[in-house]
Symmetry: C2
Subunit: 418 residues, 2 copies
């Protein structure tokens, strides 16, 4: 309406997402937002937009007083951070989709927002078309969020789906993902969990006010998951998903990680197949909510950027209530997890590190166990992701410190050991 700002946008990046946004904006004239200039790296390429729109000189955007919004969708995290910093200091609102940049520079980005009072919106950086950040900001207050559990990486979810549904082994499923454009030519960032943990670092802030560098969050990817793991899971009516999880423990601190996990049929996340993402939020008031949608791709990502641009018209900005209006939560590694491990040889497994082992089993090629480990062990050592050892969390894997003695006793009794 009349009270809304006219938005004049300077766009950095014209790759898949940037071009998607350009097209989407052309089809939504009611937004009253237009792209004045696009800054690109390689001027030679053929592009589906008028040549006068493009520049290679970033100052043409950053020094243009008419431009009041900088949208940044480039690949280079360092360059992106520089752009964001200059834009905010120069009085421009910022919309960003660069999860790696945001995850690695969270403290500085928060500081910049506090100093300038300007909005920095990044809905596209986590789960693209799923409005998870806005929901965490608007729907949940500090004390009320029990847990958040999500599939935040489409490539790995696609690969796992193909392993399950078509019984492909990991390498064949990965190849298919590449052919269909669901994995990068260098898929390490997706497959080994780097992309997912970056997103998780961003969501931990909006969910719990925790600002933690992704290096300090426990994570791995799906690189060691075997077709035999998938078959074991299927037999038990379970799925395997790469899941980011954060849960408030009894002492009020938060357990958080990105790890492969078994999921029961009927769990909302078991419904999330192929390249889709999904988020389950459990809270005191809204109870259980589940959001499902495309987590990547040109238009789904552009639509998230668009929703941020749309919000700028009424000066929306994140309040980071969990960080500034409450005592922010602390991340803890003082808890235990129940894990399934499959491995080639017992010599790779330090059995003495387990609190207890409930089940073990050996096939011709592959051995399995289910046991309980302190999370500190997973953080300090890496045997559990070496030598093709595959670690998958069980359903409801988190064991609170306060429960461990009681559970251990009961478990050993059940096994007839004590």
């Amino acid at each position: 309406m009349e009270t809304h700002k006219k938005l004049t946008i300077g766009l950095f990046g014209f790759g898949v997402v940037g071009e998607g946004l350009y097209k989407v904006l052309q089809q939504t004239p009611s937004l009253n937002a237009s792209i004045k200039k696009v800054c690109i790296k390689h001027p030679g390429k053929q592009r589906n937009a008028p040549e006068t729109l493009f520049t290679t000189v970033k100052e043409e955007i950053l020094n243009d007083a008419e431009i009041n919004v900088v949208v940044e969708v480039i690949d280079d995290a360092d360059a992106a951070f520089e752009i964001v910093s200059i834009a905010l200091r120069g009085g421009k609102a910022v919309v960003s989709a660069s999860k790696k940049m945001i995850a690695e520079h969270l403290p500085e980005i928060l500081q910049l927002q506090q100093e300038t009072g300007l909005p920095f919106l990044c809905e596209a950086a986590a789960c693209a078309s799923i409005p998870v950040i806005r929901n965490l900001e608007e729907y949940y207050d500090n004390d009320l969020l029990h847990s958040i559990k999500a599939i935040v990486n489409g490539s790995t979810n696609f690969i796992l789906t193909k392993m399950f549904e078509d019984k492909l082994d990991f390498q064949s499923a990965l190849l298919l993902a590449k052919q269909l454009g669901f994995a990068e030519s260098n898929p390490k960032l997706d497959v080994e969990g780097y992309d997912a943990v970056n997103k998780w670092s961003i969501l931990l802030n909006h969910a719990y006010g925790i600002v933690e560098h992704p290096d300090n969050i426990l994570f791995t990817g799906i690189q060691n998951i075997q077709l035999s793991d998938a078959l074991v899971a299927k037999e038990k009516g379970l799925d395997i998903k790469l899941i980011g999880q954060a849960k408030k423990l009894k002492n009020g601190k938060v357990a958080a990680f990105v790890l492969p996990q078994f999921v029961k049929n009927g769990d909302p996340l078991s419904f999330v197949k192929n390249e889709y993402n999904g988020v389950v939020i459990e809270s005191g008031f809204a109870d259980k909510q589940f959001f499902y949608g495309k987590g990547a791709g040109s238009f789904p990502t552009a639509s998230a950027v668009l929703s941020d641009i749309s919000a700028l018209r009424y000066n929306y900005r994140y309040e980071y209530k969990k960080r500034y209006h409450h005592t922010p939560h602390e991340l803890t590694n003082e808890y235990f997890v129940k894990v399934y491990l499959s491995f080639d040889d017992w010599k790779y497994i330090p059995r003495e590190k387990f609190e207890w082992i409930e089940e073990w089993h050996a096939d011709a090629d592959r051995k399995y166990l289910i046991g309980v480990l302190p999370v500190q062990e997973l953080i300090q050592n890496s045997w559990w992701k070496e030598n093709q050892t595959s670690l998958i969390l069980t359903v409801d894997p988190i064991i609170d410190n306060l429960d461990i003695i009681h559970l251990k006793k009961r478990s050993l009794e059940l096994a007839g050991i004590q």
Copy 2:
């Protein structure tokens, strides 16, 4: 932050939702919103709040200049509309959860917002804890929304789930729903679809800019669905759900209704069980999105009210872009639907009204057919919901006028009739 308004709330109604909101607000001090006065009807009741908070005189809220937000969660649609009107004209923002009132007074409520420029938010009026209205307002622009399909009534979904999972007949399932508090003592409003069509009328506005009285929208409930229908569905790997649907046809007009419908296993809505609600949105950019959560109950509804209150701090208001910034869509009844009917006697079924009948079948007590009807027939006549006749839409039921001749020919060929 400092720029945000302090909200001083006058609350109308202290039933399940009102009391829920009171408790929720006490637990979210960071919101900087407080309830100054609560207007109730029956002063005698014991309530879990200080007595000085309550009044029976509505002017104590409506004439109090310090109160800048009226939250209205009462049952009486006429009284609610009066309160909303006076509040808006008196310069107060309004949050409402009264779906019947909103559905029946949509034109006046839109008019009041235009005249006063004040926000009227009603996220709690459709699907409670699912932020569907905000998403329709923020994520989707006119041309881009292909369809919206949703389970918006928890009571009927609970009853259908029990018929499917526990093979209860309709009456036993309804009794169980009442015992568990998922259905009102007079369940007609839920069971016969009145509640669902009110919500659908509200969502049609936010989705497509269509303002239509619920009386003019094709609907029924689940009152005629037989256990035998559930068994037929189960055999075919289908579920039955009461679904609100709206879909853009090839001519740009919108087909919309609330009717029982078969749903394939694997469809997101098949995942929605018991008292939950779910919404599937398909659009050009975000692609397919699915939202799932509790659609009723004290705290889920209060949490939706809370999110509206929270949005008022930054002066958020609906823009109704589809209505004001575009040519709003038109509702049409010029299309066909493929239906399944089960009935006791052929004499109840006007066979000549069908475009064609593809299948028919008779058991000892019950007869079945699958055929295609013009929607006008369902609007003009009511034989399809009388005499225990049960109508259920097939999967993908909508047949565009432009396709009917071609489809009829192919269907009759397949049946060997032509």
